[in-house]
Amino acid sequence: MALFIGLYKSGMLYNAKEQAIRSSNLTALSAGAVYANGLQIVRLTNVALLLAAAVDILAIAAALEITGGFSLIIPSQFKDLNTRKLVQDVQSILFGINQPIGIYPLLISDETISIASQNGLKSTFPSLNPLSWSLPIPPSPILIFNVTTLGPGLAQAIVPNMALKFRTANFFSDTVPKPKKIYKYKSRKDGAIHYLNSDQVELAPNSQNKGQMRVKKGVGLEGEGYFVAEEVNAGLSKLNAVINIANFLAALQLDVTDRDIPAVHNIFVYASYPTSIKDPQNNNAEIQTLSQVNVLGTGLAAWNVNDPPYQATLAPTDPVELVKQLSIQTLLSQAISSIKLPSISNIFGTVVNGP
């Protein structure tokens, strides 16, 4: 009898393990489907951005009266309509670019959590209790977005994101030096001119010039202590001109593109699968599972809009992926076990059920 009970329990656990893996795989694939749909929307908004840019260029051209006939159609008082900004603002809010969180990444999370519960995975999020101010511990399922490129820090990856950024104009010009600092001062030592920025000078007031600056002492700069002159026409010097162009290009946002090179779009689903099998403490045993889905496609630019849509594919369970997944699982387990959120009674020092 004991043999058969043991067999039954181990068989049920084995089946539960397989069902847990299947459930988390289907949930991860569902998350990937919503993610892939979002990347197609990115392409469409990039097309809209391209159209907006065309309108702006036409308006500017009309204002400059270099297009002849167009200037008759479009009133010349419009210089730059900047309709691009409107589209970029929508993209920013929708996809969470340069924002703490976006609408679409939140949609991915919500849809995935909904599918997880329908696939039998434990879903603790709806049971958030605002009165106790405590999160369910451990929360399930946990979604990890684009973790590959973020290194060991999982904190950022837990916030829903789509690994996107705005492409800037300096993307097209590798020859322009990267903007670093704008040089505002210069000093002359032994006939050589040294350019300095605000951090490298200090105040050296005297009776004739209370605002006199000099090269900062004690930090190993060339010609330390020498008086410096302010670059009145800083923007006109060759160096500053190049840097200003670089800064301008770096600040000029174009379309939405992948945050990482090469592009990385993936989601990990870490979830608990409840079973009816009792553990030694007479609690229902739960199985932890982790699935990874990669969302692959040809690119997000406007000209990719007619390419095949992005596709969600399950990550292969080869040893390399398994090791990566296990390390993430360990990190998560450690993080969850160390979480201790305060309840309302802790915060106000009240005693629950006290005399």
């Binding site: 089946n15 489907a33 849809e111 909904s114």
Partner: protein, 160 residues
């Protein structure tokens, strides 16, 4: 004397062994068949999951294709199942948040429907797959009518 006649114990061990060996054989065979039953259940679940994955990847188009794939993927364990008992019931597509939102604005006309088809191109699918398992001979004594297995699958598919 009679007691002397029956006091010879030669062959007692043989008799005991003859009694125990069938019991041991039954126990071993039962354990193996019990294990095979779990393996069959596991094969069914795996086949269902694989069919759902293929459906999500647009490799399968309808329920009959899913049924065929499930049956094919059960491989060796097909002998434990009755193919005629394999059935799939499709539930209504999941009311995803995005679909709920766009269904609400469907009344605005064909333009809203067109925008929806461009923006939200994923949809939910849920199936309940059932099959009757014909257990191996010893387990069949306990379950003469077979054991019904059921599997629930829910997935979002893109593109629709």
């Amino acid at each position: 004397m009679a007691p002397e006649k029956f006091s010879n114990q030669t062959g007692q061990a043989l008799v005991e062994m003859l009694l125990v060996i069938p019991m041991l054989f039954l126990l071993t065979a039962g354990a193996i068949q019990f294990t095979m039953l779990f393996q069959a259940r596991n094969a069914f679940d795996k086949a269902c999951g694989e069919a759902a994955r293929q459906y999500a990847a647009n490799q399968l188009k309808d329920s009959s294709a899913i049924t065929d794939t499930i049956w094919k993927d059960m491989g060796f364990y097909q002998s434990y199942f009755n193919k005629q008992s394999l059935s799939i019931s499709t539930q209504a597509p999941q009311a995803t948040i995005a679909n709920t939102f766009f269904n609400a604005i469907d009344g605005l006309g064909p333009l809203a429907a067109k925008i929806k088809s461009y923006l939200i191109n994923y949809t939910g699918h849920a199936w309940t797959v059932t099959i009757c398992c014909t257990p191996p001979s010893l387990v069949a004594v306990i379950f003469p009518d077979g054991i019904p297995f059921q599997s629930q699958l829910t997935i979002l598919k893109y593109p629709n």
